[in-house]
Amino acid sequence: MATDDTALRLLPTRFSRVSIGLVVAVGVLVPFVVSGDFWMTVLVSAGIFAMGAVGLNVLTGFTGQVSLGHAFFLGCGAYTAAYLGAARGWPLPLWLLAAGVIGGVIGGIVGPFALRLKGNYLVVVTLGLVFIGIHIFENWDRVTGGTNGTSTSQAELSLGFTDFRSFSIPGKDFSELQGLYYLVWILAGLFVLVSANIVRSRPGRALQAVRDRDVAAEVVGISLPRYKIGAFVISSSMAAMAGAMLGVQQQFVGPTSWNIFLSIQYVAIIIVGGVGMVSGAVLGALFLGPLPEIVEKYSDKLPFLYEVKGEGGIVSIAAFNEMLFGALLIVFLLFEPRGLAALWLRAKARFRTARSTP
């Protein structure tokens, strides 16, 4: 019979196992080659974006619920890292898990709105979250430090014998950025594994059924509240953990970082990467996540950009970044709605046919 264990494997073909192995190997070796602070920062950002994007993909990609509230959940996580990790000195696993739990609980409170609202209406409600969030972050001084923000530089970053702020192996000392790089990408890898496992088992199939046709999903016995809210909980929990890492990376958490642009950036990442494909979220994060930082770095090479008004140029760096995201969104939605991951699948298919027809 055709029921075979290989069909159930995460990586069914040798090709996929080899490619993943290569990707992991390259990832491990990067800090041995790249030591400049700028590019390390870029890769750390990309890893954090990957964590959050994998989460958003569970909600938007697999369950079909578009949310612009992601920035709010990231913010919740960042303040948790500052309050519990830095101010209270909780150890890394505890403040990180606390961020995940807080994000998940708030997601579980917001989730029921998704039961009554669909499409654009849900987008507007989740957008409202971002504004409520900024208001809370600005005014709950005792926890958030109000408009002055709060520091995360004291947050504990060690796990067992490994302090990610400065660890070394025989013959190599790693910088704090390089340590952070390993930490965020290990977490991103775990998130990828968790969401890939969910997708190939019963709960993930149910999410996709809800996305494809919710009436039929109910008729085969899928409880819509359970899965719509569940998707929200997972997504916001992952977002909050990504936010906690972002807070630590920036060493400072202020109320205005958690704005619509950040949410839109996440939506753009999963669309450009490939909606509804776990690998898409990671590809999108690598490609789009650090783009604003790279643009800023090379802005002096682009004469039409200005950093301070009046120094020449026609558009500010921030505005240009927003336009770039808009343009990429439009291009991908028009020409490759399934994103970079689909380009990759197509290239792979072509490679296979080329190999099988000598």
Partner: protein, 253 residues
Amino acid sequence: MSLLEVREISLSFGGVRAISDVTFDVEAGELFAVIGPNGAGKTSIFNCLNGVYEPRGSIKLEGLELTGLPPSKIASLGIARTFQNLALFSNLDVISNLMLGRHHLMKTGFIAGALWVGRAKREEIVHRRRCEEIVELLELTPYRRQPIGTLPYGIQKRIELGRALAMDPKVLLLDEPVAGMNLEETEGMARYILDIRDELGVAMVLVEHDMHFVMDLADRLLVLEFGQVIAVGTPEQIANDPNVIRAYLGEAS
């Protein structure tokens, strides 16, 4: 006690009575057909049976009251259905669609699924095997790994039947299983329906326009007109029933 007991169910939309005081029984292993002109209330009865609408009156499956329960609960109690205009999960492949039929028989939750240890994997293997049997019964093997959206209509109809069957239902509701099919496809579907009854012994309630199809297949029929039952009986009784002849052929002057 019959397997399915429907007692005086009525349903109104605003002032319009879609069905009024409909009563019937379905026995175990029976192929029961509901026929009637367009708008007679056939699909409305289905929507009551599986909880999409909530009628007045009583619907009992093995003595258990179903009215008022949500569709997902009714599905897990053993009522499966197919839709007139297909309701498949079009981005998923055939196997995943059938596996979704088995959703209510499985237990893996978010955490077990995320970890993919022990039960999650074992359960997946056991239920996948059952789905593969259904794939073979309905001759869907060539398509098993393809996303549904790319497959022809007739095949999709069969996949939907497969998904309903994968639910291990006590009663299977088939809403116009041969609508829009050519003669060959219709005969194929009739064969699958008979196979299901003979091999699996599942009771079926069938709504259909195609009179030949229904008369050949059904053990008993119920004829609806304007939401009311005008006759119930075997195909011979129905064919000779004066009320049915009047409803279908008009009054003899």
